[in-house]
Amino acid sequence: MTDVVEVPQQEAPAGESVAEFRARARAWLAAHVPRKTPGEPFLQWDDEGVARSRAIQRALWDGGIAGVPLPREYGGLGLTAAHQEAFREEAAEYRMPEEFGNAFNVVVPTLLAHGSETLKRRHIWPILRGDAIWRQFLSEPSGGSDLAGLLTRADRTEGGFVLNGAKIWTTGGNYGDWAICLARTDPDVPKHAGLTMFVVDMRTPGIEIAPVRLLDGSADFCQEHIDDVFVPAENVVGEVDDGWRVATTLMVNERSAIGRGWSLGGQRGQQEDTGIGLEPTLLDLAREVGRDTDPGVRALIGERWVLDAVMAATTRRVGAALRAGDLPGPAAAILKAMAGSVGPRRGEIDLAVAGARAAAWQPGAENWGVHRLSSHGIGGGTTEMQRNAIAERLLGLPREPGDDRVLPFRELRHNTRPA
């Protein structure tokens, strides 16, 4: 089967040194990729943002600078980590196709680790060429934290599997081309042992994608209903019923990418120490509402700067430690847990300074109340799950005992979504 998939190659000189590659990447980026503009969002899940990112990724492919360290047999350049680092440095000033972040940071390493030759030859190069945006079908409406307790079923049928269930919290789900999807293939074994990872064409009939509107009005997330969706057997990643191992690889890669700063290019400001600035917005607000001389309010404004500075310093320190291997992967949970603690406190402080202006304001003025409203540690893994990771994986404290890891899945109380 493997020989039927033809993998197109980028045009790039053979045997390039890091310096030669860097010079070529620099010239190509300058001529074909837009620079970053201040204040632009990191991700832009709309027609314009996605079209631009597809075009940029295509430009990287056309310039022979896409998938720098990825094997040539799958469409990459097959160059070294030093070449990749040179690319990241050169790309730091340019808009990168961050909507492909999931594909590069999570899907490609997972496919390389566990995917069949066919899957690798079929799916990696379209990412590099800007054709395929990938999403993850992991969380479900009935359970996010307890991923291994998921309910989506994959039943064997002629030539493959039929999937039924629901997935949720896919960012930009309506712009995805392919998804990596975890589903249950065997309910008669303990929950971790009966899962399988699939590659799913998001345009397969039976997949219905709907945006989920959040409490602050934003709608970047989607929910997917999966109704009798056929997936061919060759789309199984790894072995049937060995999906938890694949999912673990996926999550490890996700964490280390977060440690790297997630961006496909270098990110100035996150990896470099730019110093602590005292951002004036909140002090300006205090002046506006006549509270800037109140000692209590001044202490709160100072506290907010402290929170921001500590978050930034910790992000740099943990990121560097993860890259250097000085901290194990689960240490990335420190950053998410801290964001989950800092966010609500920042919201409280904004509320205390803004007072009634957080409840109602002149049309067009700043909405300060929303900082309190939406400052939660839920998305991407709740703060409680981060605390478990820190406690169990970093501090080595024992797990809570439970039957759910030993009993067959069928005999467990299943995850539910209360009506």
């Binding site: 602590i276 000692p295 202490a299 100072g302 506290e303 402290v306 500075a309 500590v310 320190r317 404290l397």
Partner: protein
């Protein structure tokens, strides 16, 4: 290379830890609790061989640091001191050394810095007032008197004043701040020991009554020493944060180990989420303390644009979070945590003491607003 430290700095840390654990385990620290001097002389001498008092002293005066980053190296020592709740004047001696290396005349520097580097001279800094741990104007005044000055007033919370050979005194003059380096036995200078929450730390009030400070005792330019005092404060804040971070790290380690070993209701208490989530939060804020302290050390060391801001940010974070962590470490221990013979309260005492000395977290938060307004004005 770990956490931005060089291999040399990592080795230095290991050496410091070994010296302290071998010579001054917590049992030894306990022996010194009632001792009026409160210094372990053997460890002090070993510290001189390891360069603990030499990093701020120029090489030509017998000093030098492991890495060339004097404050980062000194912070490593401070963190290790915190881990062992080690007593003694090493940190305050280094603050004085940093101040002298910056502002002392060549003659004065040559006279005292070699002795400081060699561990032969103990120095401390008299800067706070009895009711003002972080004074805006120094509590001691200096008035012109012939060729020198006359010093009057009361400095307080002076670390290890009773054992110090030299006192660096920050004073106010009509023209502005001035600093003097005085031998402790200078006539008119009286050291009155205070009772201390931190049982392994000596703090004293120092009374100056008509103290004659000759021209040779002047450090920097009289009336123009504000920036010198500020620099010493930054160094002191960084070292204090490093020490607190070390003490907090050790206290949390003890607690996590206890939670693994202690079994109740049929399983280790550390398996209960109600407890382990709290320890996870403490671990998280501890990482923040280490990160912001390291940032502040480098900012001050390299005189970066945020060198005034970073130590105050660090103090505000480290001071508050560490006390909360140590309090909860005791709570997580249960009964044993309340006892005198369990070491945890020694750590708790150190971090509480460090929270309020050199200005409370809230005070430093307000100082940030002052800085922002000053910059905008």
């Amino acid at each position: 290379m770990a956490f931005g430290l060089s291999d040399d700095q990592e080795l230095f840390r290991t050496t410091c830890r070994r010296a302290l654990t071998e010579r001054a385990p917590v049992e030894r620290v306990r022996e010194l609790i009632g001792d009026p001097v409160g210094v372990d002389r053997a460890t002090w001498a070993a510290g001189a061989d390891l360069g603990w008092y030499a990093m701020f002293v120029p090489e030509e005066l017998g000093g030098g640091s492991v890495s060339g980053e004097a404050l980062v190296d000194a912070a490593i020592v401070a963190e290790e001191f915190g881990r062992m709740v080690h007593p003694g004047p090493a940190l305050t001696t280094n603050v004085v050394a940093a101040g002298l290396a910056r502002a002392a005349s060549a003659e004065l520097a040559e006279r005292v810095l070699p002795g400081i580097a060699a561990g032969e001279l103990i120095a401390t800094w008299a800067f706070a007032g009895p009711d003002d741990a972080l004074p805006t104007t120094p509590p001691v005044t200096a008035t012109r008197d012939g060729a020198g000055y006359r010093l009057d007033g009361v400095a307080s919370y002076v670390p290890d004043a009773a054992v110090a050979d030299l006192l660096l005194v920050s004073t106010g003059t009509d023209a502005g701040p001035a600093q003097f380096l005085l031998p402790r036995d200078t006539p008119g200078l009286e050291v009155e020991p205070l009772e201390t929450l931190d049982l392994a730390r000596r703090l004293a009030t120092v009374r100056f009554t008509g103290v004659q400070a000759g021209p040779g005792t002047v450090v920097g330019t009289p009336g123009d020493a504000a920036a010198d005092v500020e620099h010493q404060l930054r160094v002191a804040l960084v070292l204090q944060c490093a020490e607190t971070t070390g003490a907090t790290a050790r206290g949390l380690e003890m607690t996590v180990q206890y939670a693994k070993d202690r079994v109740a209701f049929g399983r280790p208490i550390g398996s209960y989420q109600a407890l382990k989530h709290r320890m996870a939060d403490h671990r998280m804020w501890l990482e923040g303390s280490a990160a912001i302290t390291a940032h502040a050390a480098r900012s001050v060391q390299e005189r970066r644009p945020d060198a005034a801001i970073a130590p105050r940010v660090a103090k505000a974070h480290v001071g508050r979070r560490s006390t909360a962590t140590l309090h909860d470490c005791i709570q997580l221990h249960g009964g044993i945590g309340m006892t005198w013979e369990y070491d945890l309260h020694l750590y708790f005492r150190r971090v509480i003491s460090n929270e309020v000395l050199l200005g409370s977290p809230e005070l430093h938060q307000r100082a940030l607003v002052d800085i922002a307004e000053g910059a905008a004005a």
